[in-house]
């Protein structure tokens, strides 16, 4: 079954077309990596999946629920789709544990104890249980991003979206975040990740989607993508990124 189904979506900012007839899908338990040059529309595409960005034509369904359907309760849908941002976006005025529990309590209606139990368990899992009562500003970038992943997981998401989760990090912190993501993928979490970490893609991705100028140019099994990318743009992109 396809958990995320992106059907022919197009999006404009005024005159400027950011996305042109993009279609792809992510099956349950699948990991799809999205890559492409800067400005190609990766962030825009992934933000369309949980309706953070509206699109003008086409449709997206998540777990069978159509985003274009006016009756769809978007906040409710988003609460079950985890999202991790490039700049972490922890809430700086709340402690780490408050970051972990607020949406569990106020959105899902969990009791305080349940939310705390879940929060602590997940912080432990990402190796940050000692940071419970600190504020985000007191943590390193890598630690903040791990909290952000744990915060999303606390909502028991049916899938996770990542928008360049490691590109704002110092190089020595990239791996601690990737390790968490790899573990998540290996547990069978459905994931759509915008990333240029090709090591990560080789290791856990099922498919790689390559975007260029608002179009999905290549959507292939990872071996095929790394072995013999069909489009020239993808070849160029790969040789550039791998030579770094």
């Amino acid at each position: 079954m396809q958990l995320i189904e992106i059907q022919n979506i197009s999006k404009w900012y005024g005159e400027f077309q950011v996305l042109t007839e993009c279609s792809t899908s992510v099956a349950k338990g699948e990991v799809v990596v999205v890559c492409g040059p800067s400005g190609s529309g990766k962030s825009t595409l992934i933000k369309c999946v949980n309706a953070l960005e509206p699109f003008q034509t086409g449709n997206i369904t998540v777990n069978g629920i159509s985003l274009s359907d006016k009756k769809t309760n978007l906040p409710k849908l988003r609460s079950r789709v985890g999202m991790v941002f490039q700049n972490f976006e922890l809430f700086p005025h709340m402690t780490i544990i408050e970051n972990m529990t607020i949406a569990q309590e106020k959105v899902l209606g969990r009791s305080k104890e349940d939310a705390l139990t879940k929060g602590h368990a997940l912080l432990k899992r990402v190796g940050l249980v000692e940071q419970t009562n600190k504020f985000p500003g007191q943590l390193s970038g890598g630690q903040q991003q791990r909290v952000a992943i744990a915060r999303a997981l606390a909502m028991d998401p049916m899938c996770m979206l990542f928008d360049e989760p490691t590109s704002a990090l110092d190089p020595e912190m990239v791996n601690e975040v990737l390790d968490v993501m790899v573990a998540l993928a290996e547990e069978g979490m459905t994931m759509m990740c915008v990333t240029h970490e090709m090591g990560f893609a080789r290791k856990v991705a099922n498919r790689v989607v390559f975007m260029d100028r608002g179009r999905i140019v290549e959507d292939a099994h990872k071996d095929e993508f790394f072995g013999s990318p069909r489009s020239e743009r993808a070849q160029e992109f790969l040789s550039k990124i791998l030579s770094h």
């Binding site: 933000k47 949980n50 953070l52 906040p75 409710k76 988003r78 609460s79 079950r80 789709v81 985890g82 999202m83 941002f85 700049n87 976006e89 922890l90 809430f91 700086p92 005025h93 607020i102 949406a103 106020k106 959105v107 899902l108 500003g137 915060r151 999303a152 909502m155």
Partner: protein, 225 residues
């Protein structure tokens, strides 16, 4: 050479205190209602809902383009009946009631601009993060954006409160006996206007100077984290 004679001040202290209470009452109401209503205006203005944000912008620009003293007079001359109709007959001194309403509505326009800037100082990603967790836009504003915005704004809000405290003296135009009005009346009565106004000025100065020192401290503290 003018001979100072301060002797009428001690006897006037109870009256002056009563006046100060009115000054403080107007200030407090204008601050509380001004910030609350100002927040609503600010949120309306950046809501992206065409009609709401246009109305809020119109309100803010209107009040910010008119001298406060005229607003006080208008509310006193034009709205007493309306105020009585809304708040009931038992509101007491209509001058005070109309001054409270005028100040609250006027200050809201200024507060809303401070609050709008505060909201815009919060990174946009915070709204996305709130929405992504399943909060509605309203909940995200209330629980995520506004608490951060107010933290950034504390010094500006207090500075505006100090200005407002001084501006309350303008209620003399409708004959209200606030601190300044009382000092003026006592000085006039005793033929000691100079002394009373100097004294009143000193009191305003001490209060406002102390308050602005406190704001400076807060500013330094908030700047650290």
């Amino acid at each position: 050479m003018y001979e100072f004679d301060w002797s009428s001040i001690p006897g006037a202290i109870p009256l002056l205190l009563k006046g100060m209470l009115i000054t403080l009452e107007i200030s407090a109401v204008a601050i509380v209602v001004g910030i609350a209503w100002g927040t609503v205006l600010a949120v309306a203005r950046i809501s992206g809902v065409g009609i709401l944000s246009k109305l809020a912008a119109l309100y803010v620009n209107l009040f910010r383009s008119v001298p406060l003293i005229m607003v006080i007079l208008w509310f006193y001359l034009i709205t007493p009946e309306l105020i009585r109709a809304i708040f009931g007959a038992g509101i007491g001194d209509i001058r005070l009631a109309s001054a409270l309403v005028a100040f609250a509505l006027f200050e809201a326009a200024y507060y809303s601009e401070i609050i709008r800037a505060g909201i815009q100082s919060v990174p946009r990603g915070q709204m996305s993060a709130g929405l992504a967790l399943g909060f509605t836009p309203g909940q995200t504003m209330r629980r995520i954006i506004l608490p951060q915005a107010f933290r950034n704004m504390v010094p500006l809000l207090l500075t505006q409160a100090i200005i407002l405290f001084q501006d309350t003296s303008l209620v003399y135009v409708i004959g209200l006996s606030d601190f300044f009005g009382t000092a003026y009346k006592v000085g006039d009565r005793d033929g000691r206007l100079v002394e009373l106004l100097l004294f009143a000025g000193l009191v305003y100065f001490v209060i406002c100077f102390t308050a602005s020192r406190i704001v400076k401290r807060l500013q330094a503290r908030y700047a650290i984290d």
